[in-house]
């Protein structure tokens, strides 16, 4: 897998850049299959978990108006990135593994190699770049729809929305946003590599492809979960100023 990562990155950077059209089609494909699950999941999750529960606890303390501040921590820093990555892994990642796995089983990858076409350059690199960029961009939408979920929770607690936005924008910072975007971009890269690797090493007929998808999605969840832990740790420790409540 490390080898595949190295080869992907090196052949992405080395000319000729032949993967343009495949990149565009992969990118559009990712957008098409992910937008609806992503919107539903981010909205539902942000409404339930940080929205209702956090509003409950703040309500006990008599300060539901500070819910917006909490959403920086919830939507921007944790839930947005994690949900984006889960949906990308579940929808786009599984589709990539199923696609590449099927090609492997039907010996199309071998045929490509016989024709002198490098499968890494022509299949993996465009998927890698597309997933990286799509995950980073989808994160913004996840944050937006997460905030809608938070607004709904605030409305349910009979709160005006003004204080929600004021506390949100006072507590958020550029570091939060770039941290979130950087994190999701790396999540996308992890997912793409794991899913491509599992797809390209599928074997054993019908059950093999299914198993490959299974391993790909489990591997992706564990990988970005662990990476998230390290990243959160580093970001919070190196930028203590984003933690102060304003």
């Amino acid at each position: 897998m490390m080898l595949l990562t190295a080869r992907t990155i090196s052949s992405a950077l080395r000319p000729p850049y032949l993967y343009g059209s495949e990149f565009v089609s992969q990118f559009l494909f990712t957008l098409r299959i992910c937008w609806l699950p992503l919107l539903i999941t981010t909205f539902a999750l942000s409404y339930g978990a940080p929205g209702l529960q956090a509003a409950n606890i703040l309500g006990v303390l008599g300060s539901v108006d500070r819910l917006g501040g909490f959403f920086v921590l919830a939507a921007v820093r944790e839930i947005g990135p994690l949900i984006t990555a889960t949906v990308i892994a579940g929808a786009a990642g599984t589709a990539i593994t199923a696609d590449l796995g099927a090609r492997k089983i039907r010996e199309e990858l071998d045929a490509l190699q016989v024709l002198g076409v490098d499968p890494v350059k022509n299949l993996v690199v465009p998927r890698f770049l597309a997933l990286m960029i799509a995950t980073g961009l989808f994160n913004i939408y996840a944050i937006l729809f997460g905030l809608f979920g938070g607004m709904l929770a605030a409305v349910l607690h009979h709160q005006p929305l003004g204080p929600f936005w004021v506390t949100f924008f006072e507590n958020t910072s550029t570091v939060d946003l770039w941290g979130s975007t950087l994190k999701t971009t790396i999540f996308g890269a992890l997912i793409a590599i794991i899913c491509c690797y599992r797809g390209m090493t599928a074997s054993g007929g019908a059950e093999g492809v299914g198993k490959a998808v299974n391993q790909a999605v489990v591997g992706s969840l564990i990988a970005f979960g662990s990476f998230n832990y390290v990243f959160t740790q580093v970001l919070l420790a190196t930028h203590p100023n984003i933690l102060t409540i304003r």
Binding site: L52, Q53, T94, A98, A206, V209, G210, V213, N214, T244
Partner: protein
């Protein structure tokens, strides 16, 4: 490129089929018809424990450590009240994050595993062979898996919750170390009660039931060779993701809503 699943129209189109299929499987289990194959159910339960338990617990550990522990500790510290970390971790672990994390992992590990297995059987005509032998394939394959899930998953979930509690404890008390062990545990245990725990298990088991049923449906109706199995697996994963989240949200709304049931306040 073959486009496996795109718009909302296909989703709604297959909802009825999945519903019909699920009712049939649930009836099989409810009427006790599945008990003809109790041995198979026990075997499936064993496979579930051996192949999935560890992954589910690892996921619980990671989420308990990162999302519930570290964030909670820094959140408490930032407010100048490190003890708040206990409230954050307790609610995060018990009510929200672990049911979701467990649900997503069940969808990924158990769900796609079932689709791959049953789908391959369908492609290799093994299901038709079962029918020819006079075995009710739906009961034999799907109802037994559902029963196995019901037998095993509650216990795996409770154990996973324990793992997550441990992870949060490690993160808050040992790693960030802004609050003493006693201070953390006092708040942590005060902010949960057996009723919350029951609700949490209910939430996770609803997710588990839905995941197994959806996975069985997609596996049972797979077609089109190895490619078809791959596509069915991918499709089941997407649908399960959405359903897990919706169940989580509805569960929160239903069980807690705007009534937090805390030991303080009104």
């Amino acid at each position: 490129m073959n486009e496996p699943f795109i718009g909302p129209r296909e989703w709604f189109g297959s909802t009825g089929d999945i519903g019909q299929f699920s009712v049939r499987v649930l009836l099989d289990v409810w009427s006790g018809r599945v008990l003809h194959f109790f041995g198979e159910a026990v075997r499936q339960a064993g496979i579930l424990i051996l192949s999935s338990a560890l992954v589910l617990w690892i996921q619980s550990f990671i989420i308990g450590l990162g999302a519930c522990g570290i964030e909670g500790a820094y959140f408490g510290q930032a407010q100048g009240a490190p003890a708040v970390a206990g409230i954050y971790s307790a609610w995060c672990d018990l009510r929200e994050a672990i049911p979701y994390a467990f649900g997503y992992m069940m969808a990924a590990k158990i769900g796609t595993g079932i689709v791959a297995e049953i789908g391959a059987m369908r492609i290799n005509d093994e299901i038709d062979a079962l029918e020819v032998m006079g075995v009710d394939s739906m009961t034999f394959l799907c109802a037994t898996r559902l029963l196995a899930g019901w037998m095993v998953l509650p216990f795996l979930y409770v154990a996973g919750m324990g793992v997550a509690y441990l992870a949060s404890y490690i993160a808050v008390v040992k790693q960030v170390a802004a609050v003493s062990s006693g201070g953390y545990l006092l708040v942590f245990w005060q902010y949960q009660n057996p009723q919350d725990f029951l609700y949490s298990v209910t939430k996770a088991m609803t997710m588990a039931t839905v995941i197994v049923l959806v996975a069985c449906y997609f596996g049972y109706t797979a077609s089109g060779g190895p490619v078809g199995v791959g596509k069915a697996t991918a499709k089941s994963m997407v649908l399960n993701l959405v359903l897990v989240t919706l169940i989580g949200m509805l569960g929160t709304q239903l069980f807690w809503g705007t009534n937090p049931r805390t030991p303080i306040g009104g």
